[in-house]
Subunit: 470 residues, 2 copies
């Protein structure tokens, strides 16, 4: 039985912040192949923020007029006891959850209409398209989950984001637990690594570890010796002696809170000289960005700082040429670091990404048009309680480093000939990529690294790799 | 790279069997919390039948007029190489897959209209509601995935079922591989079992084993010491010395083909005298039903046969009273065996359940209204190539055995007082339930048990339980 006290407080804060009724849907079971065979149930994140472990198909009406919260649940039937065992009654749940009333889900439209009269409720688009269609029919809001500009009323989104973006201690406790499970999964994967096995086998150890602790992957696990393919969800490669294994995987707890951690290690347990050099540059960039976290800092500056540190390192390795500050200004670093340094993290691994840049970008700020920085998902001034990732990386991507346009644009700034050697090393498989990612909480005075527990120092990693034996 | 030859033959068979064009959709990524965070992609089962490892958002137009198959795929973009690595071109795929043409997905509506002119295509409702809406708009068929009566044209469903229900050797090879992974998962779970751990830990071993082999759970894993709760997906119980662990879990391969196997074992590795008696009855019922499988046999008769064997055993144990045949005729066996003995198995774990009893029930046959047998999902005359499960079970369900209506209806036929002792044993946790389930292929002369590899003899199970140590 989850503890509902924290969620009750959040509902009270929400009621105090809204001036019109709000209807929220949890969403239901999403069919996988036939109607009764579902993906594991996952409630909408905003619903999870307000209700601990909600039932599928739940809905809730928040009414600021009488400060009421009405929860709608599927009616209990006699056959429930046969197929699903004993289910708590509405009266028991009303008391345990601490809501004003619990009503039958089948009465949702009728009771909302009865309670609100001529007043209109606002709502949100959620992943479950059938639930969204129902919410649209009831509220008249033409919301669209797949269009951030139409997912909900701007004021409503901002009100929800203001609450979701400042973590209470109970939320942080969940995130630390997700990080602890994630630590175990990463260390198991490192320990099981050896040349001659398939990536898929390590994925099994990662996801099996999550499942043993009642967690699911917060996102589709990336585990690849082709770390330079950024969104690589295939796991068909055989590990070779010279490979680097990049694992980007995080556990999500039943509460919905998650972790998002990346580590990179050598398949044979020893960083090659080239890998060691690149690893140390990425780690220095990650640590520099983390060290700079404190309230008031602009997140984009952390992105630019990590780009600056990596550019400095790449200049020292001879892969870039010139003054690092000037190189970063041109965007040349994106030839090796083509993505943003991180994103919000919470109930979604890209927290509130469904709400669009309205939430991730500060007022008046918009995305850069420069290749690389254009992918930065977050540009807020940090405040205590915000959680986000810091995840710099250096990659040798053929599609970038052999691109004629880029080769012309960054001629003289990037040593493409030297980079080509990284693309063709290891019997043409190439160097791949290295990313190091942690989960960071902005505190009153600086930051706490929630995922500090996952090994990332080179010697610690080398000691772990292969330690589980054959 | 999958082998496309088998699927090409199936497409040819389908083209030969249809007399109007048919548009099939694979379906796309289904969002889990924000639009870009998806459940693992799973194509519609009928699409998987015709195409090996299809891409998300694929669609296919089958036109019997010119015997053509046009495959529609998402256009390749320049950023694909950055985010997703090298993707085969349309020309490469046309050759490898063996279709008439490969076209851009964004041209689907336009090219279908152009090719068919005034002719109309039929289509199917699939789990992806957005893809279904698109297919409805293109074909004008008002299909509804969630209503078996509207999921597609009856002739089209029968044509597809005729193909899907008779397994070719390549399909059986996939199902045997799924069974082999399932065997490993079940034996790992048995080996890891010991009192004092949580059910969830064993689930992690099961699903981690699936993942190590590139498989996913074909359905949400049931692993519970409360085996009498038939659809129990919670895994929060601590295993006690006296518990029986019921595991109902099957692996699904990337091809979509799956297994569905149930085993039940004692948490402490030794069947109690009561558990041994019940186990032997269930196993006898399972073996009797399997032994009776051959072409021409009515599946419902297998259900009644297993009910008969279990009733006989329960009479011998004093839990039922009277002549077994007469008891089965009254439906009294459903007090302990309240579900059907199995279902079709293939690309869906309940194969083609989306198509409704049209497929699972023979012409002119409909569901029994008797409690228990009403849940029988299959009532066909068996033919070579059909695959299905055989899964009898005996459960002590409080909601049934304490039901006043049933106690009156079956007074004198069921010894409810004796049953009550099973409900309250083991410090009131009760006996629980035992189910044994295997996957069976009807052959020309009898049957093959695809999942025979999963241990089910009592001594074999006792030797396995706890063998992994602490």
């Amino acid at each position: 039985m989850p503890n509902h006290a924290h969620h009750q407080r959040r509902r009270a804060e929400f009621l105090a912040a809204i001036n019109t009724p709000v209807l929220l849907m949890a969403g239901g079971w999403i069919s996988r192949n036939y109607p009764a065979n579902w993906h594991p149930f996952r409630a909408d994140s905003t619903f999870l923020f307000f209700f601990a472990e909600p039932e599928a198909n739940a809905a809730a009406l928040f009414d600021p007029k009488d400060q009421s919260v009405t929860l709608f649940l599927e009616e209990r039937t006699q056959t429930d006891a046969l197929w699903h065992g004993t289910v708590p009654s509405f009266a028991e749940l009303k008391k345990a959850i601490g809501v004003t009333a619990v009503e039958k889900r089948s009465d949702l439209a009728k009771l909302v209409s009865k309670k609100l009269g001529k007043r209109k409720a606002r709502t949100l688009g959620i992943p479950d398209q059938r639930a969204t269609a129902e919410a649209i029919a009831i509220t008249g809001n033409a919301v669209d989950f797949f269009d951030a500009a139409k997912v909900g009323d701007v004021d409503l989104l901002r009100t929800i984001a203001q609450l979701r973006n400042h973590r209470h201690p109970d939320e942080l406790a969940e995130m630390r637990l997700a990080a602890a499970v994630t630590r175990e999964a990463h260390t198991v994967a490192m320990a099981r690594t050896r040349p001659g096995i398939y990536e898929q086998e390590l994925v099994g150890h990662v996801e099996g570890t999550f499942a043993r602790h009642g967690c699911v992957p917060a996102y589709n696990t990336i585990l690849s010796v082709r770390g330079e393919v950024l969104h690589n969800h295939a796991h068909n490669n055989l590990l070779k002696e010279s490979d680097l294994v990049l694992l980007d995987a995080g556990a999500e707890r039943a509460s919905g809170y998650c972790a998002d951690v990346t580590r990179t290690w050598p398949a044979n347990g020893r960083f090659s000289p080239e890998a060691r050099d690149i690893y140390d540059i990425v780690l220095a960039a990650e640590k520099a960005a983390i060290a700079a976290v404190k309230p008031g800092v602009r997140y984009r500056d952390l992105h630019m700082l990590s780009a600056r540190v990596m550019t400095d390192g790449l200049v020292q390795l001879g892969l870039m040429k010139g003054n690092p500050d000037e190189l970063v200004a041109t965007g040349a670093h994106a030839m090796f670091f083509p993505h943003g340094v991180g994103h919000l993290l919470g109930l979604d691994v890209h927290d509130m990404e469904a709400f669009g840049d309205l939430i991730g970008y500060g007022a008046g700020r918009k995305r850069s048009e420069q290749f690389g920085t254009a992918y930065l998902r977050l540009d807020l001034d940090l405040e205590p309680g915000m959680c986000f990732t810091i995840e710099p990386g250096i990659y040798f991507v053929p599609a970038i480093l052999r691109d004629a346009k880029f080769r012309k644009q960054f001629k003289g700034l990037v040593d493409f000939a030297r980079a080509e050697r990284f693309l063709t090393m290891h019997s043409l498989r190439g160097f791949g990529g290295i990313r190091i990612e942690d989960d960071v909480l902005c505190t009153d005075t600086g930051c706490e690294v929630l995922s500090e527990c996952v090994p990332k120092e080179r010697l610690a990693i080398e000691a772990l790799v292969g330690s589980a034996g054959a």
